[in-house]
């Protein structure tokens, strides 16, 4: 009586095994539909949402040096080819946009960075580029690109090293 049902289960589980075997390797690191757990972007104090100031302002799409506001931002990130509105969106000031015009919120800015830095983006998704904290076998916290790299000057800044180890001494204490 139960034999046909048992056979069906066997066949189904074999199928499941076969299917999972093929997809296993590529699943975790490169699945770009998953949204990783990220901290909030490191905005300067009181600067966000941008629309607080920009709401009623006319939009000037001409590439120029900013003199009235944001003079503290020095762009050293392929500055000969790009300026503010290549990443920031003029129609909705509170988001960024990709090269194809798709708007992305600031907490998904890694997608914007990944357009040019595809190799780093892939490594970051896999957990190889950037710092990761949490559990090696469970929940991990990623950092956004901009938590370590200032998007306007992305070069990693130098740090003061911690003290050098004491060299061995000849005399015992």
């Amino acid at each position: 009586m139960r034999r046909p049902a048992f056979r069906l289960v066997l066949a189904l589980s074999a199928l499941a095994l076969w299917a999972s075997d093929g997809t296993q390797r590529s699943a975790a690191p490169t699945n770009s539909s998953e949204r990783p757990e990220v901290p909030p972007p490191p905005f300067s104090e009181g600067i966000f949402p941008c629309s607080n100031c920009h709401a009623g302002m006319p939009v000037d799409r001409h590439r120029r040096e900013l003199t009235a506001m944001h003079t503290d931002i020095v762009l050293k990130h392929d500055e000969t080819h790009r300026w503010c509105l290549d990443c920031h969106d003029a129609d909705n000031r509170d988001v960024l946009h990709l090269a194809d015009g798709e708007k992305v919120p600031f907490d998904e800015s890694y997608r914007l960075c990944g357009q040019c830095h595809g190799e780093k983006y892939r490594d970051w998704r896999a957990g190889v580029h950037g710092r990761r904290t949490g559990d090696w076998n469970g929940a991990k916290t990623y950092l956004l690109c901009v938590n370590c790299h200032n998007p306007h000057q992305p070069r990693f800044r130098a740090l003061a090293p911690k003290p050098a180890p004491q060299p061995p001494t000849r005399t015992m204490k």
Partner: protein, 284 residues
């Protein structure tokens, strides 16, 4: 009257009995569960009294299906030594005399990986220094460890999850293991180690960061007290450039596997056949 023969036989029998029943502390995995629990309770009481705050000693064993491995990105490391001091704080290393489980070597890019010209005492205002790169070295957690083979008391061994550990109660301080280690990863407590009471890490492991006595050897344990709880080692979490990676090599989806399968990976002193579980790689 006791004949000489009877005395000799009795004495020999008693000695054999002593050896067979292994008087004194039993090894970690040989001791019966309740005996081990009692010993750990006694240990916790002693440490708690010594440091004036509750110290927890775990004896968590290896997880099944887990083989730890570590990878360090040489192209990212800037030699800031954050890992060295995070390790000292996490693992209760002696502050004076100073013991560091991690040593960061500064090397010249022109010379490549060359330990004979490496400098661990570099101290510029800012790192990285022009024309230099950095290689932090700690225990390589070898699969074929020379250090455990020379131990005369069996006080050090490789666990099933790959961590090479030391039982401080069995270490007699002969330092054979230090001579055998080709990486300088083992350190000796020449005096009673000193850790300030307010800086002691109370989450300890029997085979790891519990307070050590004078006269024993100690080393990196991949933060056994953290990693057997699922957490990353302290050095991984503190590294500001994210150069340190850790995980289970048996897990095909882990970042460590991704590195080994996709990046240029090397181990130190491969020719010695120590088979390190600590990999260095170039992500770029």
């Amino acid at each position: 009257m006791v004949s000489r023969r009877l005395f000799t036989q009795t004495a020999a029998g008693a000695a054999a009995g002593m050896i067979l029943t292994a008087c004194g502390p039993k090894r970690l995995y040989e001791a019966p569960k309740d005996q081990l629990r009692a010993r750990i309770a006694e240990m916790e009481r002693k440490y708690t009294e010594q440091y004036g705050k509750e110290i927890d000693v775990s004896a968590a064993g290896p997880m099944p299906g887990v083989h730890f491995a570590y990878a360090l990105d040489i192209s990212r490391c800037i030699g800031c030594r954050r890992c060295v001091y995070a390790c000292v704080a996490e693992n209760n290393q002696s502050r004076d005399p100073q013991i560091h489980w991690i040593r960061v070597f500064e090397m010249e890019k022109e010379k490549g990986v060359d330990f004979s010209h490496a400098d661990p005492y570099y101290n510029p205002a800012e790192v990285p220094e022009e024309g230099h790169f950095y290689i932090p070295v700690g225990c390589q957690q070898c699969e074929n460890p020379p250090c455990t083979k020379v131990c005369p008391t069996g006080a050090t061994w490789a666990e099933k999850d790959g961590i090479v550990v030391i039982d401080y109660d069995w270490c007699i301080g002969c330092r054979y293991c230090m001579a055998a280690c080709p990486y300088g990863a083992r350190h000796f407590n020449w005096t009673q180690p000193s850790v300030p009471e307010n800086e002691i890490n109370p989450n300890t492991h029997y085979l790891g960061n519990r307070p050590r006595p004078k006269g024993v050897v100690e080393k990196c344990t991949f933060c056994i007290q953290r990693t057997r709880n699922g957490r990353y080692p302290a050095c991984v979490e503190v590294c500001p450039v994210g150069a340190r990676k850790f995980g289970n090599v048996l897990d095909a989806a882990s970042e460590i596997r991704y590195i080994i399968e996709h990046k240029r990976v090397l181990v130190l002193k491969e020719e010695l056949n120590t088979v390190p579980r600590f990999f260095y790689f170039y992500a770029t």
